[in-house]
Amino acid sequence: MPGQPFSAGLFGAIRLNGMPTVKMTQHLYRFFPALENRTVTVQAGSVAEILHAVNQIAPGFTDYVLDERGALRRHVYLSVNDTIVVDRKTLSDRVQDDGTVYIFQALSGG
């Protein structure tokens, strides 16, 4: 349902306090409409764990954001709050309970 928050845990469509939020470029909604118009919250953990939690909600999500080695794709940027993650290979940065993960794409055109 548009606008209704939900989580990847056992609590279904219930917004849980104290869980990281994941925000992303709207371009990904084309492939994963289940993520659109919702607040995506998942269990705290490393960036890699958070992305895999989103993948539980939207199967195939990590195939778009990560390559088959688990590294961020070349033209994908990811930040935790306002800090761009430097570890693009293993995504080991820890996201705090009140943190927000932003996934966006490098701009290109033509």
């Binding site: 371009h27 990904l28 492939f31 195939g60 195939d63 778009y64 954001v65 390559d67 088959e68 080695r69 590294a71 794709r73 070349r74 033209h75 994908v76 794409q105 490098a106 290109s108």
Partner: protein, 394 residues
Amino acid sequence: MSDIILLGTRKGTVIFDRSNSTWRPRPIAHAGIPVCYAARDPRDGTLWASLDHGHWGPKLSRSRDGGATWENVLSLKYPQGARYIVKYLPTPDFDPEAPAGQPEYKDATVFKIWNLAFGHAGQPGRLYAGTIPGGLFVSDDGGDSWVLNRPLWNHESRGGDLFTGEATSKNLWGGTPASIDYGVFEPGIHSIVLDPRNSNRIHIAVSSAGVLETADGGLTWQSRNRGMRMDYLPNPEAEWGHDPHFVTGCPGQPDHLWQQNHCGVFYSDDSAQNWKKVSMPDAGVHFGFPIAVDEHDGLTAWVVPAHADSQRMAIGGGLYVARTTDGGQTWQSFRTGLPQDHAYDIVLRHGLDIAGDCLCFGSTTGNVYLSEDRGETWQCLGNHFPPVYSVRFG
């Protein structure tokens, strides 16, 4: 006679339908997404498109209802442990005679799913996919799962089996300029030629390594570059480093193979055991990307000539198609229906196809032309398509 044509374009998949002798395009599929290759599996009618997402990685897309709906196929991935020896684009101070430094190894990921081939009628579900960085993948379940062909990946010419160690650490394959868009300089498999007589015999072409053949279903691979010449390395007859742009075979005479190479047009009548250069620069037949061969007559082939690698465009502003019917001894040019002024089109390696007496090609200028008389006269199917990467009759 084929009734559909699939275009892979920079902005999506365009499908033409033939109705009452008229070809009409449908609304574009995969709108906005680059599609480097699109084709129809003649065995079951499945349509395939190879998506070249700029941000989200290469993906296959499949339609089992004639293009009404498409589904993502996310299963083509390099297995854990697949590594390769990194190549770098030679810099101006590159010295090919200098001793190589320490090889650099990299875990393999798919940069581009460059082309697809469909198995024999007796092999339902068998598909082949050629990729950058140089892996050949095989599926036996219609694309639900894929396996990397390890004998080719571990070929001694690429440094041996890097799954288990550093092997020989000697890589004789070059990179393809087509990979530079992905920030790398790695080889790519763009041609997969199946022998209709024998499902165990396959030729592939690699930019920039050359042609390889297996006669045992992919268990072993041998180079097939005898007679090839390259202009850009110190030894023009070296076994490896060739840059075939596209290789195709005659279904009715499978020993007849044709190759549009960076360094000219080459022909073989002995299943690529020996290649013969059949360029005719005076007739403009030398540089280009695509090549098509007649379905029954291995002596007859078509190319769309371009000026040169330094000027990748139509020669003298006039677009034409050249045909040989004698194995490349002579070439005839056909211009009727094609633009002859201010044409700067280039037709890429998968941008020309043949079905019976029909040929079709599309250019990066967005022009698409069709011939129904073996390339002698042409009609325009449209001038405003996105840059065309592939053209395939369905």
